[in-house]
Symmetry: C2
């Protein structure tokens, strides 16, 4: 069969646009029974494993074409981060465009669809607005995201949830990995949540903490204090200028995960003049030697101001003990709160579920 | 020196949140003279090279710690995609969070700051709005982005540039890799462009083309026809409902790169009732055996409708010949156009510059 010239030139065009590659590897492949086959082409590698969020590392086997693979047992429908470990080196899956961005450890992601709140459904969808600005407080170019719910329209004043990411995430974490916008779309479609805006900031008041970590107590405190200053003097004013939102403290919530959980407790409980709803998911890294030091003036008078103080932690989370201490400190001071222990470790599998439970409690 | 308990517990918290890793590799490292050191830890690898967008592959050398590295000569300030090739396998840089997303070949990216139009500067910044919807035309969940310029405010009706990505990109391509929003912010701050909205869609009317490529002429045509149908019946109506934009054809432009360039020519020149401004950067993959077939009814009458037909291609682009044919066909039919040949190949280095030159010509 003769190949028409048009097709030849089209093929040439594509070949020129992309360097020639070996036969394409498909990875990950989700099977009907929800098992997943991971594949990685590395003919010269000696050992390849796949490390899945919330799972144990699985050894992979190489075929004659140099493609390593392994198939998992059936998995619960969810979104799982994963990386390959190739002869001791962690790499993402080069043929999978779905990624979990992270400033220190980007990973790939596989989605096993179910009817979970984070699965996009045929419901009205909100819009994500990505804002960019120069922070005078921190001295850098930074960004934040604003979710507006379906039907966001003139006239109404919406309440706002400020939702904070964890250490090593960036401002996109709660949407890219957390699907916060999808969760809210679905909750709203089911009448399970009040329409609200969600503002997702960049959570570093001192970005050098990304290199320094939590070893330097002064750096930790500066990170949180500068974060608060940027939130109060830059982000909130911009949001309240640009969007139809209420400025009443009863219409402001703050919540976050891990470092963002600690920030939410620190910023929220020390500023009840601004927030009536506070949430913490798997918090870690509160400033001060004890939880008591983080909230020097917190006492029972908070109960008249707090609509909700909701603290969650996974039972398999390494930060469980420090969350237990926060719970005990709040109890000792007579500050009403909910302490929710769930299954799970320090992973997005827990935090997506946390948000799906927490958001319906807000602004009721 | 005794380490206070607070620090120990903070360290433990971080250690629990992140698995232990070897000494952190820094990559890429941009030096003051604009040379770049790339590093990749792979003690067991036999050969590692770095492939940089617009450059030749560079061999890397391994040190005693198993870290491969190479330093480039000084480079022009720009944003360069790159991947490592490790024993024949392309991987992204696992320690660099800056990525160029792509549905087939994600790569890492290194930015060498200069005073280029795509470098974020201390100027008023526009907002990127990310929309999600179910496409009835294509039958999938998809998205598009809308850039609104600084000062976007009630009352005024803005013109709109529909800006299309290339084959294997997704709707985020023109912002993540193209920095279209940054380019417009800077042009506007300098008074070099008219305030406009930019709408960046997902450019696949038949997403199976991602697997099939351009070998199947019917698939190529269906991809473009369905794209046009989704654009006309889903995206444009939503944009014109949700934003303060003009519905006059003189206030609508369509432009794109590579596959998106072909789509812009095909959709634009066949629908001059809707678009007065058409741009094509490094176009490839027009439907039909010749450019003549793609525009069966195009003739000199187009000159009364077209405000601008702007066609650009890099002199080192493998698609130069097919762009020459488009130029010749338009000339033969007496359709006025600009044909702009630049330095460069089929890369984002060319397309960012194309946009920075093209956008100032619009809506004047």
């Amino acid at each position: 069969m003769r190949i028409p010239l048009v097709l030849l030139s089209a093929i040439a065009a594509v070949a020129l646009a992309q360097p020639p590659r070996p036969v394409r590897v498909v990875s990950p492949e989700v099977h009907p029974d929800h098992s997943v086959t991971f594949r990685y082409r590395a003919p010269a590698a000696q050992k390849v494993t796949v490390n899945r969020e919330g799972g144990q590392p699985l050894e992979m086997r190489k075929d004659e074409g140099g493609v390593w693979s392994v198939t998992t047992p059936p998995l619960e429908p969810d979104m799982y981060g994963y990386t390959f470990n190739v002869d001791g080196v962690n790499v993402i899956d080069p043929v999978n465009p779905l990624m979990k961005p992270n400033l220190l450890n980007t990973s790939s992601m596989v989605a096993i669809p179910g009817n979970n709140p984070w699965d996009a459904a045929d419901v009205p969808r909100g819009v994500l607005h990505h804002h960019f600005y120069r922070s005078g407080v921190v001295g850098d170019q930074r960004d934040f995201y604003v979710y507006t719910p379906p039907g966001y329209s003139k006239g109404k004043k919406y309440p706002v949830l400020y939702l904070l990411h964890g250490f090593s995430d960036d401002a996109s974490g709660w949407t890219a990995a957390g699907h916060a916008h999808v969760i809210l779309d679905n909750l709203l479609a089911q009448g399970k949540a009040s329409p609200m805006l969600i503002v997702m900031t960049l959570g570093y008041g001192a970005p050098e903490i990304l290199r320094g970590g939590f070893r330097d107590a002064a750096l930790v405190k500066r990170n949180y204090d500068k974060y608060r200053e940027a939130l109060f003097t830059e982000v909130i004013p911009e949001v309240e200028k640009s969007y139809r939102v209420s400025r009443d403290r009863k219409d402001r919530a703050i919540a976050g995960l891990s470092m963002g959980g600690a920030e939410s407790l620190y910023v929220g409980l020390n500023n009840l003049d601004r927030f009536a709803w506070v949430g913490s998911f798997s918090a870690g890294g509160l400033p001060g030697a004890t939880p008591a030091e983080a909230f020097p003036s917190l006492d029972q008078s908070a109960n008249g101001k707090l609509k909700l103080l909701w603290i969650a932690c996974g039972k398999q989370d390494g930060l469980l003990q420090s969350n237990n201490k926060v719970d005990a400190e709040l109890t000792q001071r007579g500050v009403k709160h909910e302490y929710v222990l769930t299954e799970g470790a320090h992973t997005w599998l827990v935090w997506r579920r946390n948000l799906a439970v927490f958001a319906p409690l807000l602004f009721r």
